[in-house]
Amino acid sequence: MKIKSLILYCLISSIFLFSLVSIWKVLSTLQGIDLENFNFAIILTLGIGISLINLIVGDKFHKAIKSIIFAILFTFVDGYLVQLMPIWYNIGIFGILIFYSFKIDKYNQKNLDLDHSSQTVVFEFLTLFGIVLFSFVILFPFYMMIVTSFKTQAALLINPLDFSINFAQDIKELFKSYFVIFDTYKFGRYILISTFVSVGTVIVTLIFAIPAAYAVARLNFFGKNFLSTSILIIYMFPAIVLVIPLYTVFSQLGLRNNVGGLLIVYTATTLPVAIYMLQGYFKSIPKELEEAAIMDKLNWFGIIIKIILPLSIPAISSVALYVFMIAWNEFLFSLMFLDNPNSFTLSRAIQYLSGDAETPRQYLMAGSVVVTIPVLFIFVYFEKYLVSGLTAGSVKG
């Protein structure tokens, strides 16, 4: 058995164990448990001990028995260290240890002897570690957003670490922040405006983009190559350099504080990518179909309506979903163009809410949940269609 592999195996597996236990401890602290120490040294020593015993015992015992013994042993030592914790905390620790023992079970004196065994150990544990850590880091802010929206100001001030939600309370109390933002801050209205602007942008963009994309994909005209490249270049230009001239012109034309003005700008900024995605798809439709249509004396308009549209429903719907998401999430233009609370979009309304230092954080988070849920829902539900479009670079950000 290689010493290097052995040391790496012990160290890495116990660090992995330590991080699992620590994440559990952080989550438990957020349920209002008074934990103050990760006990780094002790847990690391225990981890090294368990991984060594695992090597020595090998497969003399069934792995289930081995795991349970390890788990009970660890849970007792940890329980002694942290003292008097609720039973669910210990069950969690027990579960983590079962998982951990199953993971280290496949290592024995033989496979640590193989070529590259030290690298394999590092890679395998880094993968596990990565999955746990990535999920934790990504999901934690979302978790915090949701939980904070169900708390009260007083509870958050007493113990900012207590994220536990009391489900026993009255439903009106539990959803109080949501009632407040809809009653006092008129979020119902903002949802309507945001929906109107986003859906409107989708419709207008498609009406403009479909004919243009068809022309780029199928027809020959002077300046076609130039146009295709400019679409990409224009797409790269950031909103921030458009803001000042648009603000000036829109102010003079009286288009500020006007949802219609916002709709025009959103349409123009999403058009290049919509054209780009659609023309790619139109090119894949067999040309013979259109030739037959020309024989039938259909004009271009007829071809688009009767042949192209029915065949490209999937592409059109994925473009529509993208445009919707871009318009729904957009912030810069709504900040610049809207100062009247009667015409705010959701994003702008939340920013306005946060501008007042008196606004309790749970209202802010309830607003954030309201604006986030539709996009995440659409994304998860239609993920299959959306992922391929994302790699085509459809969401600028």
């Binding site: 602290t29 957020l30 934990l35 103050e36 590259h116 690298q119 993968t127 990565g130 999955i131 990535f134 999920s135 990504i138 802010p141 979302f142 958050l156 900012p160 403009f208 004919p211 243009a212 027809l219 020959n220 005209f221 270049i233 790269m236 230009f237 950031p238 921030i240 350099v241 458009l242 803001v243 000042i244 001239p245 648009l246 000036t248 012109v249 102010s251 003079q252 700008v265 123009a268 058009l271 054209i275 998401m325 999430n329 912030f331 810069l332 610049m336 994003s347 939340i350 920013q351 988070m365 607003g367 954030s368 604006v371 995440l376 998860v380 992922v387 994302l390 670079g393 969401v395 950000g397």
Partner: protein, 419 residues
Amino acid sequence: MSDTLSKIEKRTAYILLLPAVFLVFSIILFPIFANVWISFKEVGLKDIRIPEPRAKKIVKSVKESPDKIKIIYKLRNSSLILDIRDVMFQDKIPKNTEPLNLDQRCKLKSLIINCNFGDWKAKYKENFQIILVNKSGTKIDKKEIKSIKPKLSGKSDNILLNTNFTLKNFKKVFFQNEFFDLLSTTFYYTFFGTVGSIVFGILAAQLVNQKFFGRTFMRSILLFPYVGPVVALAYTWELLLDPYSGTLNNLLLNFQVIQEPLNLLGQKYLTINFFGFDLKLRLALTTVIIFEIWRYFPLAFLFILARLQAVPKELYEAADVDGAGPLQKFISITLPQIIAVISILFMIRFIWNFNKFEDIFLLTGGASGTRTLPINVYEQGFTISDIGMGSAVSIVIVLLLLIFMFIYFRLLGRRADEN
């Protein structure tokens, strides 16, 4: 015959393209050129309002004569800076009434009063009065008079349309705006944000490219930060990182990792003692970069994952036969396969990060050493209210951007040649 057909084809193409091209031209290309124009002008936020002649109509009864009524128009020039020329005024009066002693500037013609007020200086104010008499001697309906609104018109200079140009803005941009500090912050932010998001993208793609329970679920989760609305995410982070009531600081304090709360978004420098040397870390900027990486590594992840899944399995099997370890496999198989994607990603992310506005604006507002060029555009234009300066900074951004894009398309072109 085919000649006419191709003519028809061309014409159809232009008709189909026209609406889209027109819209994109007026909302995207026109502003970029307008920036050039504005950047050579001294324009403040208050100057862009076009001056208007305004009139507030007040109706009063006249004592002891119910058949008379007094109308007072409070006239004013809405602008404090600009004059209005040739102000014309028009208002209607009800039937059976006529004005008494009408002002010389006005004329009555079939129940319509037309006045020519001439030129109004900036801040001009006047109380203009008309007394109406009912010819039939009965009471005049006040409400009817009130419901009619006077119409005013006038000509004025639009500061944006005159031809006074100045280089002042550019002088200010380069010499009075801590320009090099601004530029270095922007590059620091852009570079580390880009590299960080690509590194984490590679790591995440490596992870998800392996088989494990819940893999598709994991893939959706990894994309959440990228598809979520920036406003919601930025405020959540702000609460998370708050020095007093934030979760992160409280956790770290609770587990005794730190002794004093860290103001992660509000402190410019953090001094770290490293083997006797004092290292200064730009704390707020680093936090903003971490947010940036958190939010945008999913894009890199998705690109790289798509590429990884296209790598032929045989390559890895052959490497196994040759006895290559995981690290060797990564360096000599995976990396060469994804290097093309990485270079394209680097350019795209670099350009987009360079222009990032919302994220920094929402997290720090550009304070504590996080002022980048896009933030400066907003600050100059809307906080300091100097539209000209804001445009000049925009021009600097556009120029830098054109340079990046030139490099990017050269790179893309070379890639295409190679394949």
